[in-house]
Symmetry: C2
Subunit: 473 residues, 2 copies
């Protein structure tokens, strides 16, 4: 578990000193070493303690990135790519110090290929910005991890979110990348064609590699047509098991739900209180359907029958945009609603993902663990994928409370792994889940280490993330 | 281009001699070194000259695979995994000699998880066998590369085929693998959960690695519900451009076609002649829709409007299984129909894939090249993906004809690459496309080499495929 694992690594003081001098000279005001900049670039929504970089470079082009990589490589100084800082497992911490590469000024949409349903963007483009810029084309980018994250960060952490049940995750929606590798050259992982069997899948290797293999400089994404109609609705169930059974049948019947989210009793209570709603405080599914007037009505009717079969409340859906937005706003505010249950405490957001047949078991056992230990810890999940989040409210100043939270997370992960699940469906490993990755994949992590060492022999790309190497990091 | 590149590599005679002795002693009749076995395991539907392995081992378990890998690794002898031998680019050739690992006896379906829509299989299971064994569950595995290939081979070459426009390729449908690595240990690349962001995507790294990084011992696949209704139909267009425009609009409108295949004029002539049909000998789309009675009718009607807009003949679809089977049988027999145009000649089947906006240009320019050079070379394509095949009929005994065919393939690949395409959408690189991979991805191929060297330092896993290494292969 992360809190105790986050220790400072080995700092290359001499190299760092030289790099600070060179970057200041080359980039002037675009390179910042002041405390405020350094604080901001280690501060995330993570529960993990911040570890500050030594400086922050605001890159504006792939050539800038190449220059920075060459300078840092020459002096063996770590680089930590920074998008918006919304990662949750300490991805942007700098345990060995080094340079934070801020992409907020590399935020251009470079190319929209409407006929091919793809787009090329710089890493600093955020998902909301992208969808705003796409609006006139009738296309949209569906991946929605909640936060208005950068596309670069979403790529690096293999993000997904509420729409993944229909549109897949970042792994399914990135067609190609350009990446600056350890020698400072830029490579392209694939062409723009929708599929390819040309050699190793370098695109998928970089998606989810959390900045540890190179620095992404552009991303080619698949797009979708904006649905003609969107319908949404809410349905409460007598138990988590009943809700999950409804989800399984929905998936098995091939109903192409766009979103099917599970909120547990405590989460519903938090949302009601925070958003001034009056939903039943029972396990509840939030749904969304994308299609035409006809297909949305059809899908909704099919789901309605399934819900009835498993004792769900009567399900009605709305195509009214305002009502739908209110519904999804409540869902998207789940994090803040949960935090509001105990504003004096910290929040530790963690996720696991299990085969959907085990989702009910995993959530119910987790709820029992929460109750037994008296935690405030609402659960919300991307039920169609078997992925759920627990937000544990705890006091990070109280060592006992920290230890209790750590033990809870360890039990949650062991439970998910025993059910054939993974220690993270979408947050990534970062610093927080390194020990669970070892538990999950065992010797396979050694293959990851071999790949890392072969592509980044000096361990300069985001060291200390995903796995520990023998030497440093 | 492949024909001239297929040269024998460096044979480790001493090691091979030792391994032959050890495997004979350990495996008895399950290890064969007779000419007929060796011939059969280098013979593929490829146009490339055969390069025989020194022996063939019929493995029956992952433990067998581990033993074989340990023996071969100890003596630095190549291993070439063999499924059904249907690969097209020389993947199963043994340029440095070595041991063919035949998976035909590792053909068990190990685990069906109907609620989770997944299945665990051994590599020797063929796709038709799998769908037969799945029938009672109401589920099916959609990837259909034409040949009744093995799941292991399809995984290794990142296969796709006619259904990919709706269901994706092998990269999208493999959840997890077990693989025996160079030290003879078996690793698992991922858990069975539908998504994960736990570390590097080793699953996708092995999918499409063509046996060069390890030996796959089991594959966990995603499944789909068998559609309630399947509808199919055929629609002729006045030009390739018109047919492609109809495809683009179909994709853009988000009509979830299950198959949308383009056959050019020469291919239609071949199919008519071979299958005794009387379709118009014009560029033609073959379509299939999966869904319910209602949605199939709806999709078909939507497509019908699109077809009319681009001058297509009136489109009617059928839900009659027999009529539909006749239609798709003609499509699946396209290869043999084409060969029958000139039974005395050889066939060179090659594929490229371009962004769909460029598909019409690429096909039309390729047809002009075919006409200019007087080739018999029908074209058939997975139009929804921008992927198409050319079957060049040529005389492999005539050096001039071989050179002409090679030049044609080189021009085809250069054309596709210039349009943002890839040198192979689904056949893989093997031996035949190594030079085009270099043209396509340049320095990125060096990353592949680094990964190969880090996971297989002695180059014992299917050497001489995908790229040349500096030392051998």
């Amino acid at each position: 578990m992360g809190l105790k694992d986050v220790r400072p690594g080995i700092r290359n003081e001499e190299g760092i000193g030289k790099v600070l001098g060179i970057l200041k000279q080359s980039f002037g005001e675009r390179f910042q070493t002041g405390q405020a900049f350094r604080d901001q670039h280690a501060h995330t929504t993570s529960y993990l303690p911040a570890q500050l970089p030594d400086g922050v470079i605001f890159v504006e082009s792939a050539d800038d990135v190449k220059s920075v990589v060459r300078v840092c490589a020459a002096h063996r100084v770590p680089m930590i790519p920074f998008g918006t800082g919304s990662s949750l497992e300490g991805h942007i911490n700098a345990p060995n110090g080094g340079i934070s590469i801020d992409f907020s000024r590399m935020n251009r949409v470079l190319e929209i290929n409407a006929e091919d349903l793809d787009v090329v963007v710089e890493p600093g483009v955020t998902r909301e910005q992208l969808n705003t810029e796409l609006r006139a084309t009738g296309l949209f980018f569906p991946i929605d991890p909640g936060a208005n994250a950068s596309i670069g960060g979403m790529t690096a952490t293999r993000a997904s979110g509420t729409n993944a049940v229909r549109y897949g995750t970042m792994k399914d929606n990135v067609l190609s990348l350009t990446v600056v590798t350890a020698n400072g050259d830029e490579i392209r992982t694939a062409q723009r064609a929708r599929k390819s069997s040309a050699g190793y899948d370098l695109t998928r290797l970089f998606v989810g590699s959390e900045g540890t293999l190179g620095v992404i400089t552009s991303i080619t994404l698949r797009l979708q047509g904006i649905p003609e109609k969107i319908g949404g609705g809410v349905c409460a169930f007598p138990s988590v098991k009943a809700a999950c059974d409804a989800v399984i049948m929905t998936i098995q019947m091939g109903i192409p739900v766009a979103r099917i989210e599970l909120l547990d009793e405590m989460q519903m209570r938090a949302c009601n209180s925070y958003s001034g709603l009056s939903y039943a405080e029972k396990p509840t599914l939030f749904l969304e359907f994308h299609g035409t007037e006809e297909t949305v009505a059809l899908q909704s009717a099919q789901f309605s029958e399934i819900a009835a079969e498993f004792g769900g409340d009567s399900f009605s859906y709305t195509q009214d945009a305002e009502e739908r937005n209110r519904l999804w706003k409540a869902r998207h505010n789940a994090y803040w609603a949960s935090r509001a249950l105990a504003p004096h405490l910290n929040g530790l957001s963690t996720d696991v993902c299990v085969p959907i047949s085990r989702l009910a078991d995993c959530v119910v056992e987790t709820q029992a663990d929460i109750a037994e230990h008296g935690f405030l810890a609402p659960i919300v999940g991307h039920a169609g994928d078997g992925n759920f989040h627990v937000l544990i409210l705890f006091d990070d100043k109280d060592p006992d409370d920290v230890a209790r939270a750590e033990d809870f997370v360890a039990r949650l992960n062991a439970r998910a792994l025993a059910m054939g699940g993974t220690c993270t469906g979408e947050h990534g490993i970062g610093q927080g889940k390194m020990s669970f990755l070892e538990q999950e994949l065992g010797d396979a992590v050694d293959l990851m280490r071999s790949i890392k060492t072969s592509l980044d022999p000096d361990n300069i790309f985001n060291p200390g993330k995903i796995f520990a190497l023998n030497v440093q990091g």
